[in-house]
Amino acid sequence: MSGPEAASSHTISVLVDNEPGILARVVGLFSGRGYNIESLTVAQTDPKENLSRITIVTTGTPMIIEQIKAQLDRLVPVHRVRDLTVEGPHIERELALVKVKGSGEKRVEALRLADVFRAKVIDAKTDSFVFEVTGTSDKVQTFVGLMEGLGLVDVGRTGIVAMSRGSEAL
């Protein structure tokens, strides 16, 4: 499906008071109204003002996305809602920890590929590595896919954090 009513992915940044229950409010809004969450990250970003930043990747038609933003905006502890996807260029990054077990040729190949993807080795044993890889979700996914054939045993991903390009704050 294409055209103005097609569903597309949007990355939304939400600045909220870091108070108990705020995450439940946001997540409850999505589940209660039947919206998707594809990725969600949250952490305190301003200890002085006690603010947290939530980054949500969601999918919907333009009408649904507009609803999601309006619904988020009317939550009392929400300060700001920005749709990075429509508000100009922005950057997205994700971090993954990837554990690979193996020996011999496969182990060497894993290390070589890690170098290509600029993944760091953050733990090493004689029969395993833990890599730290950072990049777009696409890059992270590609790296994890390659490791599948080389002894992948565990993956942890942060979900997407995002920010607009240029000097403007959220």
Binding site: G21, R25, Q67, A70, R74, L75, H79
Partner: protein, 589 residues
């Protein structure tokens, strides 16, 4: 924090905060976790406490109080079951945007999460059914939280706010801090003033309309009585037709010749067809609810739509509009009037004359007609007679939910806002009696009538005990058809007349029931005696239950079957829909 008074307990501090918020009445029910508050209430005489018989009724009573006064309704319940019983009322208040502050007791902070006696995760349970909620963990936060709760409940789009109060917080001591005025919330800033540029665009569209219609709702009522006056002023300036939602009844005088009646599923023929055929739709404070729109793809297909709403999430939710305006109805109307006066636009008189002629043709169908015989009382007739006897008195109406509610909306005429209290969004059976109590508390000298069905009234019948205790002279006017009428009607129209569980087999004797509670019971089954019964009901200065035995199989018309379009209206029993209800429509409620 500036100390103003000697250190007080949390409970005393709470009572002070309520008094500072100009609270006069609290509707509540005591229990272990809120005993300190009840002790504080005992020691003062500024706040009046009304003891209900079930916590759901406390919230509905506070809703009735709030809707008839424009003030915030206050509820006080205990932890656990006290809080869970309040959930239906809170959801009702959320759906209808009624300002409520509900204080719930909670187990002491050190027991939270321990599955303690009468513990419930109240903030967790009420998160989706409140505008906002708080758990107060330290007595130092208590006063500020209460003041903030009142601000959030009453400002912007109003709604219910829960403040959960652990027992130790109520017993610890702290200095009191008075509310800061004006309130500046750190993140919550509802947009009240509309953008002037958009108001000018709206005037342009309105002035050039050939087939305009105003469609206004509860937002006008919630904005305060002034908004209703401004609405009437603006509608008169334009000379355009206007229809109201169920929630908006009273915001425009029903007797006015520009009024088309209520629209929607059981709205008038003329209102619904005006919506379908109009070229400019001016929505002020209504939310394109599914009861209003019917089939979305065929909803008002030819119109340019203007939508004024204080809640931006209500705009473009169901229906795509051309000119969205975020702001309070009163402010928007004030600006609309000012710009209209400044521009002195010339409207298309010829087109408007033709539009009114078209509307008059629809009106001539007399869609609310019914046939009253000599034998049984038609529910519509009962309401027409009721209206005849109350119209010159200062009166307030509440309803339960079902056929009687729709008939009341059709046959009682509301000339002023805040006179009509009904559960619109949630459709809560059992709403009317407790709501009437709240209204009567706020307006002790006025005539307050709960138009009820015999099924709904049983959902909160225990409140007759509250009514008796406070000698509230509320009148409960039961249209008794011995069926859950609306369920029966849908089963007749959509489920082949299989009346599954909709027949009320062992109804109580409502006259004796009334008497058992210390109220007056009356019964009427004869059209010729109806007037006398109603007069008697009004004249007795005591609570009265009137059991009006009405036609058991009367259906509520007009009706837009679910999933159908505005032009697909059933006008009466002989008017079957041309095609059976679609599967898509059957799924809808």
């Amino acid at each position: 924090m500036k100390p103003e008074e000697p250190a007080t307990t949390g409970a005393d501090l709470l009572v002070k905060a309520l008094i500072d918020e100009e609270v006069e009445v609290v509707f509540g029910y005591p229990g272990g976790a809120v005993l300190p508050i009840y002790d504080s209430l005992f020691k003062q005489n500024r706040l009046r406490h009304i003891l209900v018989r079930h916590e759901q009724a406390a919230v509905h009573a506070a809703e009735g109080y709030a809707r008839s006064t424009g003030k915030v309704g206050v509820v006080l319940v205990t932890s656990g079951p006290g809080a869970t019983n309040a959930v239906t009322g809170l959801t009702d208040a959320l759906m209808d945007s009624i300002p409520i502050v509900c204080l719930t007791g909670q187990v002491p902070t050190h027991l939270i999460g321990n599955d303690a006696f009468q513990e419930a995760d109240t903030t967790g349970i009420t998160r989706p059914c409140t505008k906002h909620n708080y758990l107060v963990k330290a007595v130092g936060d208590l006063a500020r939280t209460i003041h903030e709760a009142f601000y959030v409940a009453r400002s912007g789009r109003p709604g219910p706010v829960v403040v959960d109060l652990p027992k130790d917080v109520l017993m610890n001591k702290h200095d009191y801090s008075a509310p800061k005025k004006p309130v500046q919330h750190k993140s919550y800033r509802p947009q009240v003033k509309p953008e002037l540029k958009k108001i000018e665009q709206a005037i342009e569209l309105i002035a050039n309309a050939k087939k305009p219609v105003f469609y206004t709702g509860g937002g006008v009522v919630n904005s305060g009585p002034r908004a209703s006056k401004l609405l009437a002023q603006f509608v008169h300036m334009t000379g355009y037709p206007i229809t109201n939602t169920l929630m908006g009844l009273g915001s425009f005088p029903a007797s006015d010749k520009q009024f088309l009646g209520m629209l929607g599923m059981h709205g008038t023929y003329e209102a619904n067809l005006a919506m379908y055929h109009c070229d400019v739709l001016i929505n002020i404070g209504a939310r394109f609810d599914d009861r209003i729109t019917g089939k979305l793809s065929e909803f008002s297909p030819k119109s340019t739509k203007i939508h004024i709403d204080i809640d931006s999430s209500s705009i473009n939710k169901n229906v795509r509009v051309d000119l969205p305006i975020v702001g309070d109805a009163g402010h928007a109307l004030e600006d609309l009037i000012r710009v209209w006066k400044a521009k002195q636009p010339r409207t298309d008189h010829k087109a408007l004359k033709a539009w009114w002629a078209e509307i008059d043709k629809w009106r001539a169908r007399d869609c609310l007609a019914y046939k009253q015989g000599k034998e049984t009382i038609k529910p519509q007739y009962a309401l027409e007679r009721l209206y005849h006897h109350i119209k010159d008195r200062d009166h307030y109406i509440t309803t339960e939910v079902g056929q009687h509610q729709m008939w009341a909306a059709q046959f009682l005429k509301f000339e002023q806002p805040n006179r009509w209290m009904t559960s619109g969004g949630l459709g809560t059976m059992g709403y009317g009696l407790p709501a009437a109590m709240g209204v009567q508390i706020a307006h002790p000298e006025s005539l307050v009538i709960d138009v009820a069905g015999e099924a709904s009234i049983l959902m909160n019948i225990q409140e007759l005990s509250t009514v008796a205790q406070y000698r509230l002279p509320v009148k409960i006017f039961i249209l008794n058809n011995q069926y859950m009428g609306m369920v029966r009607q849908w089963q007749e129209l959509l489920h082949g007349g299989r009346y599954s569980e909709s027949y009320m087999e062992s109804l109580p004797d409502f006259v004796k029931l009334a008497e058992a509670f210390g109220a007056v019971g009356l019964r009427c089954d004869d059209p010729a005696k109806l007037d006398d019964t109603i007069k008697q009901m009004i004249e007795v200065n005591r609570p009265v239950v009137v059991d009006v035995l009405v036609d058991k199989t009367e259906n509520c018309f007009p009706m837009i079957p679910s999933g159908a379009a505005h032009y697909d209206m059933l006008l009466g029993p002989d008017d079957r829909a041309q095609k059976p209800t679609s599967e898509e429509g059957m799924v809808l409620v």
